[in-house]
Point group: D2
Chain length 348, copies 4
């Protein structure tokens, strides 16, 4: 019964097999091995982007920070949701990698940037000439931190606005696959066809040990990216083991299958939880994350029974037993029906 | 016949087994898992340093740059060998992580810092008050880039000098194990007992996929290290897979066995090469790297036969066939007697 | 009729005289001249802070950014008002000097940080351990960007809260003198006695060419400050000309006289404007800045008549002539009664 | 008898007059005043560079560091003389402003970069692909720190080599005027016609309080320069006082007259010193700096008599009275014949 995060899940068995298979004899280091080249080609094909620059890094923070550093400049501000991972969970990585850029925080319900709020934010910056920071990249999180998914229309509305003001657009896709299968569109449709310039294409949260791809649809900054990656310590010498993971991920659409399973588990859980009299599901989930309220007493009971998830508001121990407190439930690729059933049973 | 680098080698089978074993069910993320805690304890025990702060990162560049950033300040200069990895092979990582520190390059034969040259370099800096950068950490590479190993006496001479000028000392130990088994001393003797304040304890070059430990013998900067690591994108969410590798590395002294094998292969190769009439071995190797000269014609013959190693000087294709050109030969944990024999046979 | 900014004003004649007087023969460079030492002592005496470190720099942005870099760390966030100069008017200087710190923006009416909003902001940061940035310095602007002045009680409320969370406090005093004479207290009372750790003591806006002092009440970071200043290009070689300006500023309380005059001019203007039927003064000014509304048509008339001030909202040219638009009026040390009278006459 | 540095000299009286003249009434701030615009035009005209971007800053370190940050990138290395001001006297300013670039130190006699040494240095960098830093700008100091002057041919040899490797060229001209009058060429000939891309055009050492111009002959990076200047705290609000100094400097060729006087004083001093039996002048000076040896006893005598200059080698107090020790003598615009005579008399 672990719904704490998709980071706490194991990796898919085929990833281990791929690592073992890649472990034969010698291979060129630093990404010059055939497996890396193959994976880069596969990603270009999957994204229908033959000219894109594709790189593998080991963490999502790195994928985001390197992308934003390439898209922007130190004297710019990155526009993102007030609760974006790059703002709240990366200890200032965008600031560090960029050499001191700002983040401008934009509001929006359910973890999604509100277009009107974005417009106000954009208009609010770069109004003082050289005295203020300049408008830099827009960063959109798909799937958002609240588990919501931008529709293609919503994406286009945001990227069109960014384009109007000359701002490039980055997509934090640490849960890219979950959004993609939710929308039922192609990777190209959810990225460059929707106006995205660079994407952090996540693997770690969806069944890998630690691999994310960065895709720069315009390869102009490719060499800059490589130099930034190296000097940030993110160029792996035994690069084949990053490539092997990503290769397993892509093979036969495993990445999509894992995301579908995670989403389906979440949808099922939401459905069943919503039928419990003592549970209030916030909104119908769109990917593999759901938020719901139940009483402190129920939280305590679940906690004692070993159910793992984030208490999103309030204090587990102190307060009225009947007070409703929010929970964040994340379903990962390995989530089992048994776990869901056991979890649900605790509400009875 | 691959002697190009210890980075081109595969990982030890027990590492793969450890990854598989660690892949059971859920585990706390970001280093809060039991395996990580166990590995940290094991390292403290191996280094006889119960109060040390121990961290795992994925690349040697990161281990070095984070250590130096914690030991120094942006307005300082790091003293290192002119051909140190931090100077030549990290694309400015120490400068990036530190926020713009300098490196002062010190000469010395065979890749080792000469104490007199170091003293001159130290005296040459910080002579202009606020106008010049201030003396910062000394970084020593053990095993050096030239495959040589500092004796304990040599280490102490350098660290004593550093202490005289108030400078902390970092050890780049990407080939720590190779030096250790060469000296036949304990990890404590080669580090804190010899005046080292922080060490990059390498695993990647010696049989792991990509794990290095940083050991801060004085834990005062532990929290700063953790924040720097996080904001540099080097805190792994699925941290257990770093820990599993390091656990396998330490178990039963595997790390020492692998280093002994690599060194022994190198010593044997040097011995046999030195008996070839057409080969001139530079100096008796002390670890797993040897340098030797042979003619361009021989290089070409070896190259065509598929022998992989670095041509350390000159041009393979253009020039006098009899001209002697240097080769760098690196023996890794997986080096086979058959490979050595096949390689040697090419000289006949 | 120039009320655009105190930056557009000339310098006081005695400043020019002091420069001429300082221009005799040779003097030690880089701040080792007797005049600099004297000025540092004078400031220590005026602030009743015999152990403080005192430095002169040429711009307010520099004073702020160097102070904050010394008080904080790259992985921290600086708390400041949403419309603070360090946020809106320094093109990311705090981020640049600090090496990538964040700013957390706090609301509050009339340009002053609201204590409740500050508490919420503080509680909102550093809730995610190593994942988020850490709490750093609080920066308070006295006089605020809206021309308001924190009372001593208000200052203490904010600094006490900061102290509770271990946060040092910086005061951006680019209009320090205007606030001081408004409160009628001593410099010590408005700074270290109120819990301020470092102050940017402004001179440029109040009659100098370009000199601000930074006072670090705890001199522990004095040497760090000097190194940061030097490497940022802010250590003047012919330092005596900074010192001469500051010397003239302090002599006989000129700085206080100039601020009193500027404030009095502003109070008088506010009083008379408030009696105009077509003017709405926002709040009674506390220093040398006032905000007021009048119609677009009046703005146009004033503009044509050569009155200089900032249109704080709306568009001068396009829109309903009767629409009320805000103006910012800044009175400087040289403001003349004739100018005020001429300006007021335009409203009739 | 002050020959310590041109930084210890007073400013020319006409500079004070210009400041007074500029102090009439209100003026636009931040460089939008007419005097600034006029000065920029004058500099463009003097340099025959109608499209150049021209900026005023207050210190030479700033002029250099901002220029180099615009010409290069964080992952590059700046080539400069081993004893260049940017290496030895700016406390890491180029590293700070650039975001962590390196400096590659090039040897050369008498403070001038040796072309062969430069070629070797260039060939030594960027040999390892992404692993090493990339070749960045070349910085040439004219007049050099040793008081020597590059001929136009020497300049072209260096800039041509830089161009071959795609490297832009910066000139640190803190003593630009002294070199120019020494060569007897035009500003254009010594800069863009000789292959210079950006120049720090010094004023402070040659009679101003603290003003240097940066000239970017290619204005492509003009806006980047302005943003970097602002966020580094180097955009002066009361900008007219920088402009007034530069205006006086240029008016009637005052800058050239002052440099000629300083050089002539130096030449005369060298001539007369070389005739003293107990003095050994190093090389015939080319600008306003000379180096010469005399005995420790003579140094002590001069020191007691109040002669101020830098002891360039050895210890004044301890050692053989007859040992020859080097002195650095700098002649400034205000150097008097009486001072020279008094100084020379001390050698008899």
């Amino acid at each position: 019964m672990n719904f704490a995060s998709d980071n706490t899940a194991p990796v898919h068995p085929s990833v281990l097999q791929a690592l073992a298979a890649a472990n034969e004899g010698y291979a060129m280091s630093y990404g010059a091995d055939p497996l890396t080249l193959s994976v880069q080609d596969q990603i270009r094909e999957i994204f229908e982007a033959p000219d894109a620059a594709v790189y593998l890094v080991a963490t999502g923070t790195t994928a985001n920070a390197l992308s934003l550093a390439c898209l922007g400049a130190p004297w710019q501000t990155v526009f993102c949701h007030r609760h974006a991972h790059i703002q709240e969970d990366e200890c200032g990585a965008p600031e560090f990698f960029s050499g001191g850029a700002k983040l401008t925080l934009v509001d929006g319900a359910h973890g999604k940037i509100d277009p009107d709020a974005l417009k106000l934010a954009i208009l609010g910056e770069q109004t003082r000439g050289v005295h203020g920071v300049q408008r830099g990249p827009l960063s959109i999180t798909q799937t958002s931190e609240k588990g919501t998914v931008y529709s293609l229309g919503e994406l286009k509305a945001l990227t069109t606005m960014a384009a109007t003001y000359g701002m490039p657009v980055h997509m934090d896709g640490s849960r890219f696959a979950n959004a993609l299968v939710s929308l039922g569109c192609t990777p190209a449709e959810m990225t460059w066809k929707a106006g995205i310039d660079a994407v952090s294409f996540g693997g770690t949260k969806n069944g890998l040990m630690g691999v994310e791809a960065v895709i720069l649809f315009d390869a102009e900054k490719a060499w800059e990216f490589e130099l930034r990656r190296k000097r940030a310590g993110h160029l792996f010498s035994k690069h084949r083991y990053l490539a092997a993971q990503m290769d397993a991920y892509l093979k036969g659409g495993l990445w999509l299958d894992m995301a579908k399973h995670a989403n389906a588990t979440c949808f099922d859980l939401a459905d069943k939880l919503s039928k419990k009299s003592n549970v209030r599901v916030h909104t119908t989930p769109q990917a593999n994350i759901l938020f719901a309220d139940w009483s402190r007493a129920t939280h305590q009971k679940l906690h004692e029974a070993g159910a793992a998830y984030y208490l999103w508001s309030g204090d587990l121990d102190a307060g009225d037993p009947d007070e409703m407190l929010a929970a964040r439930i994340v379903c990962d690729w390995s989530a089992s029906a048994d776990d869901s059933a056991a979890f649900l049973a605790l509400f009875d």
